[in-house]
């Protein structure tokens, strides 16, 4: 029996074999899916912000790209995933609100996308699929069996890649 594990905002999850991961309503947040196709190990993290506070006061590691993505990779490696085989798929990073004369709120999605791309590049994990930007939310599910991602977006339908 396969099962589906939910990854909340600023959380991560790892499954293997026939199981799936799902995270709901990625807006400016980014869902990062990492896959080891040999071991069929799938990991997902729901990132909210680019960088963790430097004073270490950020309690939630998975909230930030620069701490959440390495934490996910470590967890996957601890159960047998191999770094050199990992690939990534990312979705989200949208601009949900456009407040006139404001760039801080509007740019979170872009900043998250840039931060996730940078950390994946630092870790030498290639991005093999992405669906980022625009102005709508996405629900992302990730299948450990074949590494496929399915995106459901409000009034945009469903895509799998």
């Amino acid at each position: 029996m396969s099962s589906v594990a939910t990854v909340g905002i600023a959380e991560m999850g790892v499954v293997r074999g026939e199981d799936q991961l799902i995270t709901y309503a990625l807006g400016s947040c980014i869902g990062v899916c990492i896959y080891d196709k040999n071991a069929k190990i799938a990991g997902m993290v729901h990132i909210m912000l680019p960088t963790a506070p430097t004073d270490g006061s950020g309690k939630s590691v998975c909230r930030y790209a620069d701490s959440g993505v390495p934490a996910l990779v470590n967890k996957m490696e601890s159960i047998g995933a191999r770094r050199g085989l990992l690939t990534a798929k990312i979705a989200g990073g949208a601009r949900m609100f456009n407040i006139p004369g404001d760039s801080v709120v509007g740019n979170i999605g872009d900043r998250n996308t840039d931060a996730v791309k940078k950390i994946l590049s630092d870790l030498r994990i290639p991005i093999v699929g992405h669906d980022v930007g625009q102005d709508y939310a996405r629900t992302m599910s990730f299948n450990a069996c074949d590494g496929m991602v399915t995106i459901k977006a409000f009034s945009k339908g469903i895509t799998t890649w």
Binding site: A10, V104, V105, I108, T139
Partner: protein, 208 residues
């Protein structure tokens, strides 16, 4: 105790914030009644401090489609406020203001959307005036921005912008009734932590 985020608030400080909610709700009832030309009653709102994932569940689930109307708070208080409206509440407003209703969010045209924004602006302005009156701090609100999409995605935006290190968020759940029907209206109030400290200091429940 030093406040770093909402989870550090004690019961006296929470009561002070609830009081802002009460006065804000009273102001909102008066303003709403004037706008739609009907008597409006508002119950004492419930003020909840929730973890972001709990907040999304409490508001109806991550994928629920809602209209989120967000404003930035500036001057004395920095942060954001968001009004979360479902289609039945939107229809009630449209019916009262324009004499029309819609069957789905997709049918909302430019005039409908601007009416929805205007109502949200009036409601949020009422709360902001309550904060301003109680604390003596000037507060300005920006032009509202609207997004009609999944609830989880909308709630995460002000949270990411103003609660950089905080895990909790404040939700003011108001219940108002007119024409004999009760409706829920949810507001998220998200001052940044420094502003929150200034508000609580002015209310006499915080000393750094």
């Amino acid at each position: 105790m030093a406040i770093k985020s909402y989870e550090d608030l004690d019961s006296m400080q929470l009561d002070a914030l609830r009081e802002i909610g009460n006065i804000g709700a009273g102001n909102a009832a008066t303003a709403l009644s004037g706008t739609i030309g009907k008597p409006v009653n508002i119950d004492i709102p419930t003020v909840k401090i929730l973890d972001i994932n709990e907040a999304v569940e409490a508001l109806g689930g991550a994928e629920k489609i809602v209209a989120g109307i967000m404003v930035k708070l500036e001057e004395g208080i920095h942060g954001a406020m968001m009004s979360i409206q479902t289609l039945d509440v939107i229809n009630l407003m449209l019916d009262s203001l324009l004499g029309t209703k819609v069957d789905s969010y997709e049918e909302l045209d430019e005039m409908h959307v601007s009416a929805v924004c205007e109502i949200a602006n009036i409601l949020m302005g009422s709360y902001v005036n309550a904060i301003s009156d109680m604390t003596g701090m000037p507060v300005n609100i920006s032009v509202p921005a609207i997004s009609i999409n999944m609830l989880g995605a909308l709630v995460a935006v002000p949270m990411a912008t103003y609660c950089y290190e905080a895990d909790k968020i404040m939700i003011i759940e108001g219940k108002f009734s007119f024409d004999g029907m009760m409706h829920k209206h949810n507001l998220m109030l998200i001052p940044d932590v420094d502003s929150l400290k200034r508000v609580l200091t002015r209310l006499g429940v915080y000393n750094e």
